[in-house]
């Protein structure tokens, strides 16, 4: 136990001594987190949630204007806010200028006794404006149809059209934060955790007599390899987890919503750093490779898994799920990010714990593999 504590203490000292590396690990989260927050911290609220849509109205025809006003008066957001935010314009020319400058989404105008619409591009808000035009057209067409076939039914039909009961009931599957863009922050923290691969490689290389003088000193010491390995890895994991936690705390301070389950969030980070470190330990223990080659493999794993998890292309996780779902089940970055997601979205912890157990299994396999390839080494000359 004394050897374990001694080794644990000195591994921490070695890691802390490398201040630049530690600082950059924290800076990685702080710099990119700030950037993400500034770039798309409120995109979901701004672009995906429905707010009043800006439009201009240039309707000369009196009856069209009257019917248009009636329809608009009957449509609202949540029963309070109006669906349309009408911008006052002097005429068509001014309205077209506003449309070109993207200050409004559409122009309602009258032509041949009908309500018409001009939009700049195709999109959901433009489609909602289109549905207002369709609603106007709907009343006119139904009234025309009924006037031929059953004129006495027109009043009842019109009442049904305008005040029909809504029987399409919304079912909510989760009360969690549905902001899709928060997954970028989940992936950022996941990548930061997995960057512990570098620390794991450094630890493994530092334990090999042919690659470092500390490794040579360790090899001739009386301490058991297992004690040295476990205490060293534990120290590495803890320091890496502290760096990631500091980054996470910063993100929470600036306003990123990571939920309110601090204990579980900490546990995910700890498991993530454990997997990263153990993976690094395994790579670092492979004997025939140079330090440079080990770093390449480490970088490839960190960047590659972050890409497949969706850090660079948001929907990548779903593409992988469709093409080869098994990758999402073993990709450490995807598992860490999915643990944050499931913690936020679901009421139960089954999926989150399932992910953490997979991370632990990967970690154990890596340590086992690392010890296996690194054991019983004899050096003819160092």
């Amino acid at each position: 136990m004394k050897t374990f504590i001694h080794n644990f203490k000195y591994t921490i000292k070695i890691i802390i001594h490398n201040k630049t590396q530690m600082m950059w690990s924290i800076v990685f989260i702080i710099a990119l987190g700030t950037l993400f927050y500034a770039s798309f911290g409120n995109i979901y609220e701004k672009d995906e949630m429905l707010h009043s849509i800006k439009a201009a109205v240039v309707i000369d025809d009196g009856s069209v204007k009257q019917n248009f006003d009636d329809i608009v008066a009957n449509i609202s957001l949540d029963g309070e806010e109006s669906l349309l935010d009408i911008t006052e314009v002097s005429g068509m020319e001014e309205a077209e200028e506003l449309l070109a400058d993207e200050k409004i989404k559409g122009i309602f105008y009258s032509g041949q006794g009908e309500l018409k619409l001009i939009v700049k591009e195709e999109g959901v808000e433009e489609s909602i404006l289109t549905s207002i035009t369709a609603r106007y057209h709907q009343a006119v067409t139904v009234a025309a149809g009924l006037s031929k076939d059953a004129p006495e039914k027109i009043p009842d039909a019109m009442t049904m059209l305008l005040t029909g009961e809504n029987k399409n009931i919304e079912k909510k599957l989760s009360d969690g934060n549905g902001d899709t863009y928060i997954q970028y922050f989940y992936n950022l923290i996941a990548m930061a955790c997995l960057m512990s691969v570098n620390a794991g490689i450094a630890f493994a290389v530092g334990s090999q007599a042919n690659l470092s003088s500390i490794g040579a000193r360790k090899c001739i010491s009386g301490a058991a390899t297992l004690t040295q390995t476990v205490s060293g890895l534990l120290a590495t994991v803890i320091t890496q987890a502290i760096c990631s936690l500091l980054g996470l705390i910063y993100l929470i301070i600036i306003g990123v919503d990571f939920g309110n389950q601090a204990g579980y969030t900490g546990l995910i980070i700890l498991c993530g750093c454990l997997t990263g470190t153990c993976l690094g330990f395994f790579i670092g223990s492979i004997g025939g490779l140079s330090r440079n080659a080990k770093d390449v493999i480490g970088t490839a794993i960190v960047v590659g898994t972050a890409f497949l998890s969706g850090l660079m292309v948001g929907n990548m996780r779903m593409v992988v799920e469709e093409k080869c779902p098994v990758i999402n089940k073993i990709n450490p970055t995807a598992l860490i990010a999915d643990s944050f997601y499931s913690l936020e979205i679901y009421d139960t912890y089954d999926r989150c714990f399932g992910n953490l157990i997979t991370l632990l299994i990967i970690s154990v396999l890596c340590v086992f593999g690392g010890v296996l390839v690194g054991r019983r080494k004899r050096y003819a000359s160092i």
């Binding site: 590396q21 995109i43 959901v124 990548m191």
Partner: protein
């Protein structure tokens, strides 16, 4: 040309590792480009991805499905609640509609959507209009067939809406070229930075200082070496693009080639700055990731700048990646050489500025080392 030769000796020594990096990022770039071809998660125009689960299987439910499938991309698979939640979150689907049993008589429906979003409310609106129309006509004595025919006519907005600007679909190769900046930055950091660091090692530097080679000559030879390497990498990327889909961009080949060459030189200049600071190992990896991801997120490589606020857009304009993407968009929108010249010029100005900063850093570090 001693320094120039040594530059390539170092590159040659690191060639296996370098080629692994180039290979990895080349694969990444191809995957990034290809992933966008599936278009998963993005809805275009007024068409959304709907999942419809029909528990009624009546004539009425069939008509509702016909109506919605005429507008949207409809899937009929039955998913678990967990899958639906995941698919909605990741935008693989936009709306799930359950047509309840006895819908034909009760009109009862249940939906799951991203709460409060424009897409959800848009589909809600469409279903409500269809329902109101059908109910009004059926109550008025119309048959199901006649009511449906008149409803389709009533809800058709053809000829009522004008589009002032058309939007063209972009080929897969567009996305490949959109993601090139990230890969170029990363590759340049991994290839150029270690070579510059090697030149700045105390022993090598001291040896160079006592030689008759001037600092200016040394920097110029390193600069030349770096540019040759960047051209080699650039040719690899263009060759890969040609393999992926030459026919998609043969008319604009020289424009995309110029644009990517401009950015490759900019990426090389950035890597030169970091190299002159003597950064290597783990720290270099982290800095490469920060620089690569930050520049690409800010410049609109990963998330379109159209989503940015005005303030962020102003900041984005100070990023070389913004000008690369801006120029790339113009090229694929059919822009002429005049349209893209400004963007290209700004990219090269960034490169020039970065090389000048690298020269200043090199001089400062040299002074610091000698003192």
């Amino acid at each position: 040309m001693q320094v120039f030769n040594t530059f390539f000796k170092i590159v040659k020594k690191q060639l296996p590792v370098t080629m692994i990096y180039v290979g990895i990022f080349l694969v990444l770039c191809v995957m990034m480009g290809s992933s966008q071809r599936d278009g998963a998660g993005s809805y275009t125009a007024s068409s959304c991805t709907l999942v419809i689960v029909d528990h009624d299987k009546s004539e009425a439910s069939g008509k509702l499905i016909d109506y919605l499938s005429g507008i949207h991309d409809v899937k009929y698979e039955e998913y678990t609640d967990e899958q639906i939640q995941d698919y909605l979150y990741y935008h693989k689907i936009d709306y799930v509609l359950y047509i309840e049993k006895d819908y034909g008589t009760t009109g009862e429906l249940t939906n799951v959507k991203r709460p409060g979003t424009s897409v959800g409310i848009y589909v809600d609106n469409q279903i409500a209009m269809y329902e109101a129309n059908m109910r009004a006509l059926l109550t008025a004595g119309y048959s199901m067939e006649d009511a449906y025919a008149l409803t389709l006519k009533a809800l058709d907005s053809d000829g009522l809406v004008e589009l002032s600007v058309g939007s063209a679909e972009k080929p897969t190769i567009y996305y490949y070229f959109s993601y090139v900046p990230y890969v170029i930055i990363m590759i340049m950091f991994f290839i150029i930075t270690p070579v510059i660091v090697a030149f700045n090692k105390k022993d090598v530097n001291d040896r160079l200082n006592v030689s008759p080679i001037t600092l200016r000559s040394k920097n110029m030879q390193i600069f030349l070496g770096a540019v040759i390497i960047s051209i080699f990498v650039w040719i690899l990327f263009i060759a890969m693009a040609c393999l992926m889909g030459y026919s998609d961009f043969k008319d604009m080949l020289y424009k995309v080639a110029l644009n990517s060459l401009g950015f490759t030189i900019t990426g090389t200049a950035m890597a030169t700055i970091v190299g002159n600071f003597g950064v290597s190992g783990d720290t270099k990896n982290i800095i490469a990731n920060i620089a690569g991801l930050a520049l690409c997120f800010l410049g609109g490589v990963f998330v379109p700048v159209s989503m940015f606020s005005k303030g962020m857009l102003a900041v984005a304009k100070f990023m070389p990646t913004y000008w690369y993407i801006n120029t790339n968009d113009k090229i694929f929108e059919g822009g002429s050489m005049d349209d893209i010249a400004a963007g290209l010029g700004i990219e090269l100005l960034f490169a020039l500025a970065f090389f000048m900063v690298a020269a200043v850093v090199s001089k400062r570090m040299r002074t610091a080392r000698s003192s």
